[in-house]
Symmetry: D2
Subunit: 380 residues, 4 copies
């Protein structure tokens, strides 16, 4: 079997999630390539070496440009913070590497457009790690929609609620906290959390035409880890928006890091003419499904325990009733991506798919400024 | 419309529940009789008068024999403690009154047999207030079983869990606490709580052949309210038993007043070849239903919100989505009983039905003594 | 005890709910007045007589002006459709009657202002039947907020989802369907359902400063029952809006009659600095509560079964674990209102409180037209 | 770091679960040894080679005696069917190997005793894969009990419900179906499923004194895969038993493969004087906890989402809110076992711990025969 050599840039939370996926996928899926963890790249050589030792990367680099220059790297996985996605991805595309880029694609649509142009020009396989599409319950939702079970869609609603930044003494910036630093992250919950909700929504329910948003920064100033000074907080702590999809359905989206009791509660619900679907990340192995065509007296929301062999991806894992978790969504993405590479077919979400999410984020952030409905830029 | 004059004996918790049912039923159901609350009877005249004033009883009695002797009483409702059920009911039957008797029918099967003989000899309409049969979700369960949705039954399990007697300083005996006094109550959780579970089970799943039980009294001595002395506790604080139904299904039953966190958690589940059903009293307006014949990927437990017009009894109440509560089960029992009286048809649970429950209780308590499987006496 | 004579105008769904409350409240609550159901008024005399017979009203009227002219009426209960609230209420105030008016107060803030002026000028006790405030779990939420358990509030979100108008063959207008006729109802889900959400929100979380809304009418034309012709549908089938409260918290509100699987799912959630609260009408006897100050490893959302004696109103009903339902919220409102009357204290929601809800509705409907943030008119 | 060479016997469902654990554990836990997958052993060489290739075992064996004879094997992992556990484990102990044995320890207590003697005589580290102890929520339950949060224990109840053998056309015997063949499995649900429940119970609640059981075989005959003939089914399809623990608490246990709607619903609940705990495998990442010492009006069952860094094992995985699954319990067991080996400390469940479970199973199966209470043999 042909090998496929991976070079990873970054080694944080996502570096672990992706490495685990690369390590694990071949034990459960029949892959068209044998994955080799060739190199990991990070500015801090010591940390890079420790990470390489733990995960079995064959070598380390401290300059991503050197990594991209290596001929023995087939696929570049970008796990660095948002502000360097564009530069690295464009260079990687020019170097002819396949690219798996952590979400969001970029800080803005403008950055993203350059990235899309680069991968399209280079003709390299590319994907963005919007992993939640590949939670089996979410994939099942997509199947049910594609089968036409819901009929005309009236409503879509999604939320991503967290509570980890309520403490005003939490600083911003630096490792682990760059998500609070607007210069690095680009935005707050919009790019970090709503981007996930938007990606799923575009996949399940099609394009968004226009949005009307509000944002808030509850804690206005935080000490910056790098400068050591109290600085204005530039990110959005919370964001909610109304939306209209091209299919005529209405939507509400909301995200915050100030919702006590919710650690990572991503939830969506879709109401169609015939049936409705709901899902949440805190019980990710279940899909809630209501079908009005069920006989009347026994009609009810069904709690589907998505662990059967006939459910998406689940035949590869254990037996009915035994749950998989968060990390498996990354495994599925690697499996699907490599299959697509082997077959020469794009596998969503591609950079282009992710650009559409970026356009929605841009419109959301703009609307929060203007206080008006803003149109979402159409993907060409 | 013909009137039907009610005479109630007792004025405690159940006196309120029944009075509310009598008062309310005519506003929502089309009855064959106009109910008149003619008299309430209690030894304490002052309390009887207060109760009569609040609920609109036309008169009071302090001697139940006088109540039974009154010609203007058509129906006697027995809400007195268990130890006087038999004597009153037998006298009421002899006096030709219709009888609604609070559960359990009696303290023992032997007492119950005399009661059944009395009502059958007198030919008077009779029922026992096993009200949970008429929670709409429970009635729906019965319908689904009768429609054959479950197929062959493999398992039945029921529990009734409470936590109100954990405190060892709680005394026994007297008003409100006679349930802890074995002389008055006859038994502890077996007659008080398991009797409910058994009544439902016999109704839904047919006869029980044999049982194997254990009981426990966790708090061995409690001060007696009437004697003022610390006395041995004679009731069962907890009881669990295995059972085999005549239809070949296996069952577990359990009840206790020592289960922290459960106030009145009566729950049952039935597993059949094709479908399963589960219900609990803490969310009494829902029925859980799993049908294996549903299409595979969307199979799941359905949470049926039993509030639609086509659900049992619900067309009489509000609109879909708006729940009724505990008290309504009593209203339904009055409505059904009066309809049966008008049509000359017995309405379950009759005294005879309740005697079967008593036989199971007897076998349970005997098995707890012998440590062996005990056969349940067959109803003639 | 002094009697209090009730005259009811209307006999539909709400006529039943209110009559049941008047009939029942004295059995469970110690009231300062003895309620007498003196008269019911409806244009259709036959139906009025049938209603009077069922509920025990002493007399009937077919002209509400005659009812108001009667000296033996102390309290007028307005259950007629929205378009006549103002006229009747203003006349009732002038006639010196106490007024209980079904929600929403009026079709518009302008109408509502006249009503408020009328009752204030007349000095008559008044209330609007926003009954959900008095579901015990909702009242408990209010208590927890008033005790300061949540700390600074960051988020409020509410939804009221139904699915009963999805069928495009459902006509508009006439008895039972006047809620779909804009001329009678004034608006669709905004006045019918969101008004409930707004009333609760103002009570729990204070004033709303501004809103940004969208509405949609999914079924554009429906046959009109009265005209027999297909007519344009003027109501909003769905409405969602963003809001900012005066306390700095952000909110999302949504209502629709096109959400498959939801019959009457009113739900709200509040996220505070220390704790969060959530409730929904489909399981109205439970309150979800998360307190971050709980010890770390055992922190979790608590499902409070609001049936204990120490919970609001519950000492009046049954015993712990035994649920009450939808109808009881009306009973509580009568009890509280009469207590207020006896003490000479206003009991919320007064007409003035309900006017604030109307102002929010007005701003919502206006914003749906302008596509901009609209300020909510301040209550004087 | 010192290496630790693993030799695995068997390659089925559990072979995969264990191999995944060995492969994965070092990426997330800091281990005292570097695990090397040295050899896998199976009678079918082709399948063994395929398994070795997929999981990276360095070599294959087709005779387990040869595997035990190899000097380069430090740890033997027994994943073969129940009927060969004893022979292999005893030989492995004699060969001085550390042993990880799949549950149940053996088919009977008598077999198990020999195994315990063998490992104790040899002084080799040993454990049995009762993996559910190391689901973080279950481990948290153990912590809470050890902290004394529950106080005196009154009740324990456990169930393990499945529905995969309802179809009477399912054959018995052979790969994947040896669990239905009594000669290989030893028993049905008792050894397969109840053994899990008993292991957890002994760990959480101490010794069981006596039991009273019933078993049933619903499908009496099934075609045997190996013989090709219809043969009597010797296993128990369902088993329920009453139990009394040494600490005075009462218990009910039940298991079946005939409970429609339940795939692998292992659930337990413990009721103590002060607090109660409940858990189920279908939502394995949650622990339900009720603490009566919470303030009254806000007392309720807490749904603890066991995904925080301070929860057992969770600091090693992702971030709060992101669930792990079934497979991770095996990873935890490897990590704990190796730590114990390095420190020279036994890590439960040892063979001796598992023998106690076997004794309970023996008493259960005997009681099902005798219809009486049977004492559980005491562990020396």
């Amino acid at each position: 079997m042909k090998t496929l050599n991976v070079g990873m840039i970054g080694y944080g939370f996502m570096g672990r999630a992706h490495s685990n996926a690369f390590r694990k996928v071949g034990h459960f899926f029949d892959l068209p390539y044998q994955i080799v963890l060739k190199a990991v790249c990070a500015r801090n050589e010591e940390k890079a070496r420790a990470f390489a030792a733990r995960w079995g990367y064959e070598s380390v680099e401290t300059d991503w440009k050197k990594l991209l220059a290596r001929e023995d790297i087939d696929l570049v996985d970008i796990c660095a913070p948002n502000d360097v996605h564009a530069e690295i991805a464009i260079a990687a595309a020019r170097a002819g590497k396949m690219i798996m880029c952590e979400k969001p694609l970029a800080r803005t649509g403008a950055e993203g457009e350059k990235m899309v142009r680069a991968v399209e020009k280079a003709g390299v396989p590319n994907t963005v790690w919007y992993n939640y599409r590949r939670i089996p319950a979410v994939t099942l939702a997509k199947q049910l929609i594609d089968e036409g079970r819901l009929g005309r869609i009236f409503h879509y609603r999604a939320k991503f609620l967290q509570d980890w930044t309520i403490n005003p003494d939490l600083p911003q910036g630096g490792t682990g906290l760059w998500r609070l630093d607007v210069k690095v992250a680009g935005s707050g919950v919009t790019g970090d959390l709503l981007a996930h909700c938007i990606d799923t929504a575009l996949w399940l329910n099609g394009s968004v035409d226009r949005v009307n948003a509000m944002t808030e920064t509850f804690v206005k100033e935080r000490k910056h880890v790098l400068s050591g000074k109290v600085e204005k907080v530039g990110i959005d702590d919370a964001c909610a928006f109304l939306a209209r999809f091209s299919n005529g359905s209405l939507a509400t989206f909301e995200s915050t890091r100030y919702a006590r009791g919710h650690k990572a509660l991503y939830t969506f619900e879709i109401n169609g003419e015939h049936a409705s679907i709901a899902w949440d990340l805190h019980d990710l192995h279940r899909l809630q499904y209501f079908d009005h065509r069920d006989q009347g007296t026994t009609r009810g929301w069904r709690s589907i325990h998505v662990t059967d062999g006939e459910h998406p991806y689940m035949a590869k894992w254990w037996v009915p009733g035994l749950a998989i978790g968060y990390e498996h969504s990354f495994v599925h993405q690697v499996a699907d991506f490599l299959q697509g590479v082997a077959e020469g077919k794009p596998v969503g979400p591609t950079f282009k798919d992710a650009l559409e999410t970026q356009y929605v984020c841009d419109a959301v952030l703009k609307s929060a400024q203007t206080g008006k409905w803003e149109k979402v830029k159409k993907i060409r």
